[in-house]
C-alpha cells in the first residue's frame, strides 16, 4: 500500500471527536446477535477510560432497517431520531454516539437534509410534538462507535495485553478491515479518512500491532443491502458479493476480519458457513476453519484482555480459537458454551464443512 498517498487523503478527512460526555444509541442487529460487543464497548469507555457515557433505557431503534427496506418513509425515521435527540437533550448531553453504521449513515443523512431543508426540520419538530409532546435540539457532535475506538486507539494500545501479533512467529497479524458502506460512502466528510480509504479501522489495527491487508475488493460491499437479503429471491446476490470479497482476500491469508458495521459483521461471518455448506470451501489458514469476523470493539476488548467467552465471541459462526491461539490469548475451552454463572447454553449442531470449535 502506498502510505504517502493515503496519508494525504486521510489528512483531508479528519473528524473532531470530543473527549467526554457521550450519549449512546444502540444497534438493533448487534443487540441481538453480538450483545457482548456493545457491553464491552460501554465498559471500556466508562470503566477503563473513566468517561461519562450515558445510555437512556427509553431510547429505541432508529428505524433504519425499515427505511432501507422501503417499508417506512424517511419522515418516520426522522421523527424517531428526533426523539432520540430529545432524550439526549433531556439527559443534558450534546455528543451523540451511534453503534450501528446504517444508523450512523441515517443520522448523517437526516442532519444534512435538515441543514439543506430547514422546512423539513420544522415539520419534524411539529410531528414529534404531536406524537409525544417532545422538543429537541440537534447534537453538537455525531460519532460512530468505531470513531470512538479510533479516537482512543492509543489508550487501548497502552492497555494491550494481547496485541495483534502472532506469538508463534512474532509477525503482525494480517487483518482485513471492512468498512460498512453507510459509514463514509454517503458523506465522506463525516468520516475518519474519507470513502475510498477510510482510516478509521486501519488506524486502529495499526495501533494495536496488526498489519492491514490491501486486497483488490477491499472497498466492495458485503452485499447485505437490506432488500438484497430480506427478499429470499435476491439472497444469492448478497451471498455472491461476500464470496467475491473472500475470493479476492484469500491469496493474502488474512488472520482476522475487523468490521465497524453490525450487518457486515453478521454477513461476512454467516456467509462463510453457507459457502462452506454449499461448495465445501473454507477460507481460514487453519484447515476446516473460516476467517474470524469481529467488530472493532470486540477486537479492542480482546486485545485489552477481556475473556473471549464473556465477550460473546461464541455467538459468531466462525470459530475464533485459531485467532486466539495466534494472539496467545489464555482461554478455557470448556467455558465456550457456558453462560452467566456456568449455566449450560448447549452446544450447537456442527456443520459438515466448517468447524465451530
Amino acid at each position: 500500500m502506498n502510505y504517502e498517498g493515503k496519508k494525504r487523503i486521510w489528512s483531508e478527512f479528519q473528524k473532531e471527536i470530543p473527549d467526554d460526555r457521550y450519549f449512546y444509541a444502540r444497534s438493533c442487529i448487534r443487540q441481538n446477535f453480538n450483545p457482548g460487543a456493545e457491553q464491552a464497548f460501554l465498559d471500556i469507555v466508562r470503566n477503563r477510560f473513566g468517561k461519562d457515557f450515558y445510555e437512556d433505557p427509553l431510547h429505541t431503534t432508529c428505524g433504519g432497517i425499515a427505511y432501507h427496506s422501503d417499508t417506512t418513509p424517511e419522515e418516520t425515521s426522522m421523527t424517531i431520531i428526533a426523539r432520540q435527540f430529545s432524550l439526549m437533550n433531556q439527559a443534558g448531553y450534546r455528543n451523540f454516539v451511534v453503534s450501528c453504521v446504517t444508523s450512523f449513515g441515517l443520522h448523517t443523512e437526516i442532519l444534512q437534509t435538515w441543514e439543506e431543508h430547514p422546512e423539513i426540520e420544522a415539520k419534524i419538530h411539529e410531528l414529534l410534538w404531536k406524537a409525544c409532546k417532545r422538543e429537541f435540539t440537534k447534537p453538537d457532535f455525531l460519532m460512530h462507535s468505531s470513531d470512538m475506538m479510533y479516537h482512543y486507539r492509543f489508550l487501548i494500545s497502552e492497555q494491550a495485553r494481547y496485541p495483534l501479533i502472532n506469538v508463534h512467529t512474532g509477525e503482525p497479524l494480517k487483518v482485513v478491515e471492512h468498512i460498512g458502506c453507510h459509514y463514509s460512502k454517503i458523506f465522506p466528510s463525516k468520516s475518519v479518512g474519507g470513502a475510498e480509504y477510510p482510516r478509521v479501522l486501519a488506524g486502529l489495527v495499526e495501533a494495536l500491532g496488526g498489519s492491514v491487508v490491501d486486497y483488490p475488493e477491499r472497498r466492495h460491499c458485503c452485499g447485505f443491502g437490506f432488500r438484497q437479503y430480506l427478499v429470499k429471491a435476491n439472497r444469492g446476490y448478497s451471498l455472491t458479493n461476500t464470496y467475491k470479497k473472500f475470493e479476492s482476500m484469500e491469496p493474502f491469508h488474512p488472520d482476522l476480519i475487523i468490521t465497524n458495521c453490525p450487518g457486515c459483521n453478521y454477513f461476512l461471518d454467516r456467509w462463510q458457513y453457507v459457502i462452506a455448506e454449499t461448495s465445501g470451501k473454507t477460507y481460514g489458514d487453519t484447515p476446516g476453519y473460516g476467517i474470524p469476523v469481529l467488530s472493532s470493539e470486540e477486537v479492542s476488548a480482546l486485545v485489552m484482555g477481556y475473556d473471549p467467552w464473556d465477550l460473546g465471541l461464541q455467538m459468531h459462526q466462525v470459530a475464533v480459537e485459531p485467532l486466539l491461539d495466534k494472539m496467545g490469548v489464555q482461554y478455557d475451552k470448556s467455558r465456550k458454551y457456558k453462560g452467566v454463572g456456568g449455566k449450560d447454553l448447549g452446544i450447537p449442531a456442527s456443520p459438515a464443512n466448517i468447524r465451530i470449535f
Binding site: 439472497r235 444469492g236 454449499t278
Partner: protein, 109 residues
C-alpha cells in the same frame, strides 16, 4: 451439501490475462478503427436485423475484446451487410468492412 434455495452466482469478472488475445490483436492491426468504438450503441439502434435476431455490433466489439468470440460470431452471422450502422456511426468507423474483417480473421479459428 445443503440447498438453501439460493446460491453463489457465477462471476462476470473478465481476467484479461486468462484468454488468448491474438485474434483480437490481428483484427486491431487490420481494422484499427475497432479501437475507436466508444460503445454508444448507434449501430445497434439502427440495425434492421436487431428486431428478429440478437445482432448487436456494439456488443460484438465488446465481446471480441473480452475473448468471447463464439457469442460474437453467432451475432455477426445475422448481419445482412446493409450498412445502416456505417451511416450512423459518430466515430466514422467503416462498420461493414469491420464485420467482413471479423468474419475473415475469426474464420481461421
Amino acid at each position: 451439501m445443503i440447498d438453501f434455495g439460493y446460491g453463489i452466482s457465477p462471476s462476470s469478472a473478465i481476467n484479461l490475462d486468462k484468454f488468448d488475445r491474438t485474434m483480437f490483436e490481428e483484427l486491431a492491426r487490420e481494422e484499427p478503427d475497432v479501437l475507436k468504438c466508444m460503445a454508444c450503441g448507434s449501430c445497434a439502434a439502427s440495425c434492421p436485423t436487431a428486431g428478429h435476431s440478437d445482432m448487436n455490433l456494439r456488443k460484438v466489439i465488446l465481446l471480441l475484446g473480452r475473448g468471447r468470440e463464439d457469442e460474437a460470431l453467432r451475432m455477426v452471422s445475422h448481419c445482412m451487410l446493409c450498412g445502416k450502422c456505417l451511416i450512423v456511426c459518430p466515430r466514422g468507423i467503416n462498420t461493414r468492412h469491420l464485420i467482413l474483417s471479423v468474419t475473415k480473421i475469426y474464420q481461421k479459428k
